[in-house]
């Protein structure tokens, strides 16, 4: 045995301790860097997105003038005129077509339709005064949120000094409010940022994920059980295994091309439909579920299989009575993580047309729709100022769903985890 207090022993120990400290330091630096990046990502999203969670509204008293609004020709309109008339009660001196148009521009273009829907639902309102609260148009929303600076030269901003004056007058009259923007969730897409919402995208993602789950969950588990428990080990099963692992690494855009060619081109399924989106995502989720399920099946201790075989259970009784129930938490975790991946997938959906401009939410998986990530893509591509914050807000909504799904996966894993 060497002398522990000798010079060489001590210097050896010193070197070893130094290495250990270095490794620890590098590890902590790596984690710190990752945490910092995550913080910067979330912070930048929140700082640009939080403003989209409120929406500037204007509340005005509208006299539904029977001269303008006729009960027998409601769809024809005239609602913009009655809205303008109510605005003009604040600014009696505004006249002339151009000025009136500018004044009208304070209120969102969609406001007249909101009013129309209300009158259509209750025609007895004609001839009465109603209070309506409607979004202001995007430039004034930006102004109210301070995103349009008042000290910018007039020529370089969307709102003129006179329009700012009108807006401030309305504000002083308490007509302007900034409530929580539920429209972000309850509205469908729109060309006007103040009206655009995620309902269509949320429903589209929901239908696509449902289709994806219904296809990939049973297929994936079935394939994994067969490969893991029943398939003979030979060249063919090795080949299949290698290919499933490869499939998990195929770029998603390739799946999109495949779906375009097969589902839409050959099978003739509808374009932009969550059905096709879900089928495409199922192709991508399948390998994930198969790999996770096989790992979960493998993790069931062999002693449980032996115990069941030992009392005379047949192979399928062992698998379905013992192994599968014990592997279920792992399988569910893998499935949820696979679905979370599918929820965030964009490229294949672009290829099958789920980035179309669609202003109604899908009622079935066969209707045209967008999905959350493609909606983010569309908004990020839109020039209006209001879409900048809405894009960030939509990303936050998507991240919320992803975090929720992962949290459910972690919860399931810890709840059903068994110790042997």
């Amino acid at each position: 045995m060497t002398d522990l207090s000798s010079h060489s022993a001590r210097s050896h120990l010193k070197r070893r301790n130094r290495h250990q400290t270095m490794i620890k330091g590098f590890g902590m630096a790596a984690i710190g860097f990752a945490a910092l990046m995550l913080f910067i990502l979330v912070a930048s999203l929140v700082s640009s997105g939080y403003k989209a969670f409120t929406q500037t509204h204007i509340t005005v008293e509208v006299f539904v003038d029977p001269a303008e609004i006729k009960v027998d020709r409601l769809p024809r309109g005239g609602f913009d005129d009655v809205l303008l008339a109510s605005l003009k009660t604040y600014f009696p001196d505004v006249s002339g077509r151009a000025d009136e148009k500018a004044l009208e521009g304070i209120i969102s273009n969609g406001a007249q339709f909101a009013l129309r829907d209300r009158i259509v639902a209750d025609p007895s309102l004609i001839g009465q005064s109603v209070t309506v609260t409607v979004p202001v148009s995007d430039p004034f929303d930006q102004l109210a949120k301070g995103l349009v600076k008042r000290d910018t030269p007039e020529a370089q901003r969307r709102v003129s000094d006179r329009e700012i004056g009108w807006f401030d007058t309305l504000d002083r009259a308490d007509a302007i409010s900034q409530p929580v923007n539920w429209g972000l969730i309850t509205n469908t897409d729109s060309r006007f940022p103040e009206l655009a919402g995620l309902k269509g995208a949320l429903m589209g993602s929901f239908w696509a994920l449902l289709v994806c789950f219904v296809i990939s969950f049973p297929l994936g588990i079935g394939a994994a059980i067969y490969l893991e428990e029943f398939a003979p080990r030979n060249r063919l099963s090795d080949f299949i295994e290698v290919n499933i692992n490869n499939l998990a690494a195929v770029p998603s855009v390739v799946f999109g091309l495949l779906a375009l060619a097969v589902f839409i081109g050959w099978m003739g399924l509808p374009r932009s439909a969550p059905l096709v989106g879900g089928m495409t995502l199922a192709l991508m989720t399948l390998p994930t579920i198969i790999i996770a399920t096989r790992a979960a099946l493998k993790a069931v201790p062999p002693s449980i299989r032996e115990a069941a075989l030992g009392v005379g259970a047949s192979r399928h009784q062992v698998v379905f009575g013992h192994v599968l129930p014990l592997a279920m938490p792992g399988i569910l975790t893998g499935t949820i993580i696979g679905l979370a991946q599918a929820l965030g997938e964009t490229a294949p959906l672009l290829l099958i047309g789920m980035n179309a401009f669609i202003t109604s939410a899908p009622d079935t998986p066969f209707d045209s729709a967008t999905a959350l990530p493609t909606q983010i893509f569309i908004w990020a591509d839109s020039p209006e100022r209001g879409f900048v914050s809405r894009t960030s807000a939509a990303i936050l909504v998507l991240l919320t769903f992803l975090i929720t799904m992962n949290a459910i996966a972690i919860y399931l894993r810890s709840k059903f985890e068994r110790k042997w």
């Binding site: 080990r233 449980i304 299989r305 115990a307 069941a308 075989l309 030992g310 009392v311 005379g312 259970a313």
Partner: protein
């Protein structure tokens, strides 16, 4: 440790249960069992002893065809249970395993209730028609495994919550619940403490009244305590087989003598 004198209990029967002739087992090309002939009697405890890797567990697993589950394993030769070739095409390994129960090295109760653990075998083999029948089988099996008094008030608690020794007795109860004729035990006490070991050994002696018991063990004292017949395996050969008292006091083969005196192993 626990060092009782070698029991002089005579072999009480000459009825043959298992008879194996010229059994070879191959894992791919490697030969693990090299031509074993052995006769296992009814209502007798037969112990398989030998150093690690000598093939005693492999041979035990031939007796209920547990080796079938290993793809690379191949068995040749002739093994008969009550005169019937168990590797015959007409024999279903699933039914064979109901007749030849097995207890494993590590206690491996299902992560289910105590009741469900014992009731599993009878359920899948359709041994009970009514709930009352099943209750009866569960109670009888647990009594036979000397566990009933300890667990009768908590049959619905998980079997994995019992102590190691209780878990192993639960596994024995589970094995006897299918009314087997032979019980195979693969080092049933190697994961247990001395007290639990003593309980299980006592149990094995009682089980001999109704079953033929084959036990693989690493402990020569255990083999001496519980068995009437002993087989010594070495490097895939059955070196010596005979009355336990004879093997331990007056071995004929010098390898046996070396092993029991601790020179090889």
């Amino acid at each position: 440790m626990y060092d009782a004198p070698t029991p002089e209990s005579p072999v009480t029967t000459e009825t043959m249960k298992f008879s194996a002739r010229n059994v070879h087992v191959f894992y791919n090309e490697a030969e693990a069992i090299k031509g074993v002939d052995v006769d296992i009697l009814d209502k007798t405890v037969t112990a398989f002893i030998g150093p690690s890797g000598c093939g005693k567990s492999t041979f035990l697993r031939c007796l209920n065809r547990m080796n079938d589950t290993i793809a690379i394993c191949r068995v040749t030769g002739d093994i008969r249970l009550d005169g019937q070739d168990i590797y015959d095409r007409s024999i279903d390994p699933v039914q064979l395993r109901a007749k030849v129960g097995m207890v494993f090295q590590k206690p491996n109760p299902f992560p289910k209730s105590i009741y469900d653990n014992v009731a599993y075998g009878p359920r899948i083999h359709g041994l009970a028609n009514t709930r009352a029948d099943l209750d009866g089988i569960v109670e009888k099996s647990l009594r036979r495994a000397a566990l009933w008094d300890e667990v009768k008030d908590r049959l619905d608690t998980p079997g994995t919550g019992l102590s190691g020794g209780q878990q192993q007795r639960l596994c024995i109860a589970r094995a006897v619940a299918t009314q087997p004729e032979v019980l195979l035990m693969d080092e049933p006490c190697s994961a247990l403490d001395p007290i639990a070991t003593a309980q299980v050994e006592e149990l094995i002696d009682e089980l001999r009244q109704e079953y033929s018991v084959v036990i693989v063990t690493h402990s020569m004292q255990q083999a001496a305590r519980v068995s009437q017949k002993t087989a010594f395996f070495h490097l895939g050969h059955l070196v010596e087989f005979g009355e336990t008292s004879h093997i331990f006091t007056n071995p004929t083969d010098e390898r046996t003598e070396s092993y029991i005196t601790g020179r090889i192993g």
